[in-house]
Amino acid sequence: MALTMYQASIPVFEKQLSNLSAILKKAEEHALAKKIEPEVFIDARLAPDMFPLSRQVQIATDGVKGCAARLAGVEVPSYPDTEKTFPELQARILKTVDFIKNFTPKQIDGSEERKVTLKLRGQDTTFLGQPYLLNFVLPNLYFHMTTAYAILRHNGVDIGKKDFLGIF
């Protein structure tokens, strides 16, 4: 049986965001145990010209909610990028999961050829639904999750690949 657009998107997003949430929880616990100001992790980046942890989470959630909405042909909700604490980042993830889990297979399936236009670096870029999901949204999600993971690992948080992969 062929994989559907729904199967390749919504459940994958939910699982990855759940893993990201678990990683952030470990980071918050580590900060508390080691008496490290949580903002040290929230503002940490791998290089000065990269985004900090907070922005990695914001972009990861933006990509996911945007994809679900665009594939279903509904309006993309806008979340202000104001999170500065672990609880606020967790709330953003939860809000995103609550948004995407309401989509049904009927809304997403059949969107392989749906035209999706978004602004990338100030320019309109048009994708078809399937390459948008497989070549843009999923790699972006994994990129920002991996970067968030690497920021925290680099800062001494006790996490490993099994935290990234979660339960499978």
Binding site: K34, K35, I36, E37, E39, V40, F41, D43, A44, R45, L46, A47, P48, P52, N155, G156
Partner: protein, 136 residues
């Protein structure tokens, strides 16, 4: 509006140590200023007004503890928080839980190699504490 970067002045005569520590602070969103000795540090502290100073205890041209007394007596530099990083004075705790007392003041001290998350956390706390004291 872009956030104003906090300024940290790193005082160390080891170029390698400076480079590594500067990278950690840059990655944490600080503007990093570098000084090699007392004279340069004093000049930069007065001109650039850093939010905090991270310094070694032993300088090529003197004892960092004596220099701290000088900074604390100077009206232009007395309120700048100072944290020590050292591989001398039997400081072995790289998590910054040790204290160096100079006169009536106490300063947090880290052993090298530095535990950067704890160091960044301490510097952040010291900057916030200094700001709050100024508000009182």
């Amino acid at each position: 509006m872009p956030r104003k970067l906090k300024k940290i002045l790193l005082v160390d005569d080891s170029p390698v140590a400076q480079k590594v520590t500067a990278k950690a602070f840059s990655n944490a969103g600080y503007q990093v200023l570098l000084a090699w000795d007392e004279e340069e540090c004093l000049k930069m502290a007065k001109i650039d007004k850093p939010d905090a100073i991270l310094m070694d205890v032993i300088f090529p041209d003197g004892d960092g503890r004596e220099f701290v007394r000088k900074l604390k007596q100077d009206l232009e530099t007395k309120d700048i928080p100072i944290v020590f990083a050292t591989n001398t004075l039997n400081v072995t705790d790289d998590e910054g839980d040790l204290i160096i007392t100079i006169g009536k003041e106490s300063y947090r001290a880290f052993a090298k190699p530095l535990h950067y998350p704890k160091l960044l956390s301490t510097v952040r706390k010291e900057i916030n504490r200094s700001k709050n004291q100024k508000k009182l």
